[in-house]
Symmetry: C2
Subunit: 224 residues, 2 copies
């Protein structure tokens, strides 16, 4: 029996969430990994990345939840907005193509439900404020408010802290952090394209490659 405190970590399979997972382990938590499917094109690649990262870290508690309704909500009425997002958006694979308002609140609600069931003491989310420029639910003030929602909406004996260790890092710093704690970047998937190898050209790939370049570290995944 593990006597470590448990943390629910949202693990998309991208590099940010992989680093977040590594940090939770470094901090002494037993990780319970939560993966969310949005019905996105690269869903199977991301699920594979999730499973590989879990295996690497020997994570036994895993939960995969389908929240493709969020994409439907976003897609049904935000068509113009969606197009704009797809063209200009710079982010990790954590963020779906179709921008959905209040997405992180949905994710944190699911993570907190599971955390309370597991008697976990923390929820990790690899949100990066810089990536989510203009996204209100990527800001510290939002996470603070959600913390209060957890404090009031869970049992008195429950104490779940939201931890956002990447919130104020840039991609270079995330790469350096991950490298220092031996995060298996080779298993992560960031590309928006669904092909055998990452395209190297989409917004997500370019952001990732720039992070590795600035960190002077070789990205171990293969590109087309």
């Amino acid at each position: 029996m593990s006597t470590k405190p448990i943390a629910v970590v949202t693990l998309s399979g991208g590099m940010d969430s992989a680093v977040c997972t590594g940090l939770a382990i470094e901090m002494g938590f037993e990780v319970a990994a939560l993966h969310l499917n949005y019905g996105q094109r690269t869903q199977d690649k991301e699920l594979q990345a999730f499973n590989n990262i879990c295996e690497h870290f020997n994570i036994k508690k895993k939960l995969v939840v389908d929240i493709s309704y969020l994409t439907s909500i976003g897609g049904s009425s935000l068509t113009d907005h969606t197009i704009a997002v797809e063209k200009n958006f710079h982010s990790d694979v954590d963020i779906p193509k179709t921008y959905v308002p209040f997405r992180n609140a949905n994710i944190l609600a699911i993570a907190t439900s599971w955390a309370e069931v597991l008697n976990a003491s923390a929820v990790f989310i690899g949100a990066v404020q810089e990536d989510g420029s203009g996204y209100p639910d990527c800001r510290e003030v939002f996470f603070q408010a959600f913390q209060q929602t957890i404090n009031t909406g869970t049992k008195p004996t429950t104490t779940i802290q939201i931890l956002t260790p990447l919130l104020h890092l840039n991609k270079k710093e995330i790469v350096l952090t991950g490298d220092s704690i031996e995060v298996p970047f080779q298993f992560t998937w960031s590309c928006y394209d669904h092909s055998e190898k990452a395209c190297g050209e989409c917004d997500s790939c370019r952001l990732r490659l720039r992070g590795f370049r600035e960190a002077s570290i070789k990205d171990p995944i293969e590109y087309q």
Copy 2:
């Protein structure tokens, strides 16, 4: 084109949520009705109630979302707790048999995402504090904290108010309120049993029948 402000109303098909819907209409909102499936036994009865109530009120904006993952989360590790809940639990059909921690946060997150897409100005939830005795996410302090989460996690131009008009009412008062605004109680479904007519004996039926009795109003649905 409607020029009314829009409100997303969570509408399970039970009497509380039906009254909540009626109140939103009385207050001058165009209602966008959100129905959640948990994979509960009476799912089809509740969906039928939802559709009938929407038709009655001429509600055009409808969204049905499957959140059976919440039941899986609850059921997977809370077996003992679940049994206790099923035996002792008094509530409307809004509450699933399997108690899920932080359920209302999940529901409000979905409702808020849809509300922001619709440019709605309110989210109604028919939570009743009395019913949820011991449920932290049925208390006013929780809804206040979630309001702050909405304020910080949505666009600066978005102003969505959470409204909980039933929070401090008892079942008798809910019946009287619904009756005064001609809520179609005949279409509502509260019973935990999946049979042609309501059983009249489960916790939910008994609570409902007592409410009607105390209000000196005849419950228009048929019982076995």
